[in-house]
Symmetry: C2
């Protein structure tokens, strides 16, 4: 696909999740700019959203386009210079209607400079997953893995909804189509399947 961060900017109204006193919170927020591999957002200092970001700057983003292609991103935000506001209002003219005149004073700018992400294409069967990273973060590979305990019994292969598992001396899983459903892991009689990395 195109750059997945540009995909998010093009969709513009994405879902941004935060943590609120240990519980999840999520709202639609606009990606205001995508520059130098960073995503920029606004929030008003009086919003619960702002308070949550100040207490815990980790965010998770997801958006899906009309073709059922989904992009997810996670990382830690940083508040940045409010001087960017003017450029953001130029690039997003609707903001002039929502915060007219001086009322934009209440807005702060933050950016996501670094993160891990995933493109998940549900337009095809089986869906295809691809992980990425930006800003110097390391890619977190997806999918269950078969380890050396494998006795090539073949039970896992029959349990996989997407046909991601191939035969071999030890069997292997195509991580790009692994749904991470865990059916192989539950069915394997020999503890030969390792859990996916946290994402």
């Amino acid at each position: 696909m195109e750059d997945p961060l540009e995909f998010l900017r093009n969709i513009k109204s994405v879902s941004v999740a935060t943590v609120n006193n240990g519980t999840p919170a999520v709202r639609i927020a606009d990606v205001m700019l995508h520059e130098d591999d960073k995503l920029y957002f606004l929030t008003a200092r009086g919003k619960p959203y702002y308070k949550q970001l100040k207490e815990n700057p980790e965010i998770a983003i997801v958006a899906m386009d009309e073709n059922y292609v989904t992009v997810r991103v996670k990382g830690k935000i940083e508040f940045v210079d409010r001087a960017l506001l003017e450029r953001i209002f130029e690039a997003n003219p609707v903001m002039n209607h929502i915060y007219p005149g001086d009322t934009r004073e209440i807005l702060d700018v933050f950016c996501l400079p670094k993160g891990i992400g995933e493109v998940f294409d549900l337009s095809i069967v089986p869906p295809k997953r691809e992980r990425f990273a930006f800003g110097g973060a390391e890619v977190v590979e997806s999918g269950y893995r078969i380890n050396e305990n494998c006795i090539a019994c073949g039970i896992c292969k029959g349990s996989c909804p997407t046909g991601a598992i191939s035969e071999g001396n030890i069997y292997s899983i195509d991580s790009s189509i692994c749904l991470e459903c865990g059916n192989c892991y539950e069915k394997c009689p020999n503890d030969a399947i390792d859990l996916p990395a946290e994402f």
Copy 2:
């Protein structure tokens, strides 16, 4: 609007946020059924999503339709009888392609039986907000409030981006169009404005 839970079922692919070891996680997930004022979802037992729900059953949901109407919901999920799977697959035939044959064994069903929510209509300026609750939860009212410290100086009125503030012996805020931006709160010289409730 129509029932906001039915709105979510109609959009179907909504954003569901959870907490993952203190950080936010969010993914697109389908609302599989809406029955008796409850929303039903699926997850596979091997997914990080499942693990997160088992550790912390609080979720937050958001979805926006093509008219920029957003519905948000929060609450605690409960895993329910897997016997519902059959009906869910009937109501969502695409599931037969994603989890063909017996591979559906790896799926569990959960529901959101109770929660608080918000309809936010961004198709109009100013956007309009309406809170609701279901399953016996109590509605959490939105918006900043002006208290008896108000000296009717009028500073808040000029600071409001949406014109939500009306004059009076003490001024008042129309919570349905309050953006919760907090500009009035920052500008008030007399501590006469109370924070919105947590949502």
